[in-house]
Amino acid sequence: MIVAILDVVVAGLLLGGIYALISVGLSLQYGVARVFNVAHGEFMMLGALSTWSLNQAFGMNPIIAMAICGPVAFVIGYVLHRTLFKRLRRISPSIGAFEGSSMLASFGLLFIIQNVANLIWGTQTKAYTFMAYPVSILGALFAANRLVTLAFAVAFGIVFYLFLVRTRLGKAIRAAAQDPSTAALMGVNINQVLALCFGFGALMAGLGGLLVSMSYPMQTTMGLEYTIITIIVVALGGMGSIPGSFIGGFLLGLIGSIVTKIEPGLSLAAYYVLFMVLLWIKPTGIMGK
């Protein structure tokens, strides 16, 4: 009995860790940079499949691959913002207009990225094995790779939290999240910060994909479902609240794990029910303002 519960809880935390990481990324992009990035999951997919390629081509260990995938994802996100989204921001007459046009632009990115991915990797499902041996904790068996996934997801979360709270740049980001115009008046280089946020968002998505690739199979169409789940998490946690997204991610992971145990194949339905319930009770989200 205890084992069964532990099983579900740990599985939930594993799933939740990935959701949490990717959701924090989206929260940075939407909450701070105000880009409703429907292509977020595609960055995750790119992270997953690039890791697969590195593994296939060089036999590279995904943990090592983090050093490549992370920075690359960051740079792509940063450049995208500095070119596309900054321009959209400049030409949009209002924040509302910018949110609309950036959402549409991210649709375009979704098509582009998925098609490019199809050209590179094809549409078949891919997988590789990494630390796929079982580890025993308190009598329950867990795959080592999933434990590593959880460890890294939590580690990234902590590192990022410290970054936000302890460093100058982190504080600038938090200021920009609260009130971009005032932050700009106080000397924060807003364009830079927003682009960095977008870059960090892409970084987290990419790393999230990498973590997923360690234990799950992947295909070029995997992104959209994660995007939807992440959007629900961000809404659940309170729009623009980074800690809210982090907690929300774990919460959703736990719920998904419980539901999968009871009736596999209904996890999305469960997330939606939770979403509806929350919107009914507290439309601003768990930690919303």
Partner: protein
């Protein structure tokens, strides 16, 4: 003023009737391939115009067309063997209407963003639910659809589209059209002028959905085999939005033009560059948004009720 209006509306009504007549005769003088292509375009036009019926005036961006389309497709697949075609279409429309009323009642009282988020994932949610149901209870993965000849499909699709256009036009010209516009300009002010905002939005959303369901039901007969992944395809949610945004939403002609352009473009890209067409769509979209913002200000300003820039003729 009245005489000028009458001449102008006579002109547009006249051309509309003429166009419908020309289209109705298409299977007689046109090649079979053309009939199939035009059927596709009319399908896109129907999805786009239905989408505009709700999301145009209110500014609430619905990303649900694929969900309602999917319901229509599955209705056709499940009931096509047992019921005559007209009934299948009616049931599909009714099913979509019901889902839309439920979704509307739940989410239209909230901020517009939550509505968009909810509808965005709806297609994947339904896909997962239908898959679960089929695997669990009916033990099938996909279904075969009753085959119908292309000419019948064309006429049914055309008929649905004509009914849709008439409905959309009547709605826009009616007091409900004015109410929807007011809701789009300032929801709270509209409520204070006596408009039951939630009810209006929900019913309009329902009307928009039922046409999408009907469209799905007839288009399903083109594919002989469907499964949840084919029926619930997010692409059908994105396309109407793009087509409406490109074509413009002040009139219903705009979305039709947008649909025609995209329908032809898709056909061209699919035949010439089958592996690149999503890529090219995406590039066109990004380039257009970045360099032609005026075509998009209509939708985009509505997104957060910033007010529309197009002016409106009014009673």
């Amino acid at each position: 003023m009245n005489a000028r209006m009458n001449r102008k509306s006579l002109y547009s009504w006249g051309s509309a009737v003429l166009l419908v007549l020309l289209l109705a005769l298409l299977p007689i003088y046109g090649a079979p391939y053309t009939v199939i292509l035009v059927t596709s375009i009319i399908m896109y036009a129907a999805l786009t115009v239905s989408w505009v019926v709700f999301s145009g005036p209110t500014g609430n961006v619905s990303l649900a067309p694929a969900a309602f389309m999917g319901i229509g497709i599955y209705t056709a697949a499940s009931l096509g063997k047992f019921l005559p075609l007209p009934l299948v279409i009616l049931v599909a429309a009714a099913g979509s209407l019901c889902l839309a009323l439920v979704v509307g009642a739940l989410t239209l009282r909230l901020k517009g963003l939550y509505f968009s988020i909810f509808t965005f994932g709806l297609v994947l949610l339904l896909r997962q639910l239908v898959l679960w149901y089929e695997v669990r209870f009916t033990h099938t993965r996909g279904r075969f659809v009753v085959v119908i000849d292309n000419t019948t499909i064309f006429y049914v699709m055309l008929a649905i589209f004509v009914v849709l256009l008439i409905t959309a036009h009547l709605l826009r010209q009616s007091k409900y059209g004015a109410a929807l516009e007011a809701i789009g300009e300032d929801e709270e002010a509209a409520a204070h002028a006596g408009v039951n905002v939630t009810a209006m939005k929900t019913i309009t959303f329902g009307v928009s959905a039922l046409f999408m369901g009907a469209t799905g039901a007839i288009m399903a007969t083109k594919w002989t085999y469907i499964d949840p992944y084919i029926a619930f395809d997010p692409f059908f949610s994105f396309m109407p939005v793009l087509m409406a945004v490109f074509g413009g939403m002040a009139t219903f002609v705009g979305p039709i033009i947008g649909a025609a352009v995209f329908g032809l473009l898709e056909e061209l890209l699919l035949t010439q560059f089958p592996f690149y067409y999503m890529l090219m769509f995406g590039i066109i979209l990004v380039v257009a948004i970045t360099y032609l913002p005026n075509g998009l200000t209509g939708l985009v300003m509505k997104w957060r009720k910033g007010g529309r820039t197009e002016s409106h003729a009014n009673p």
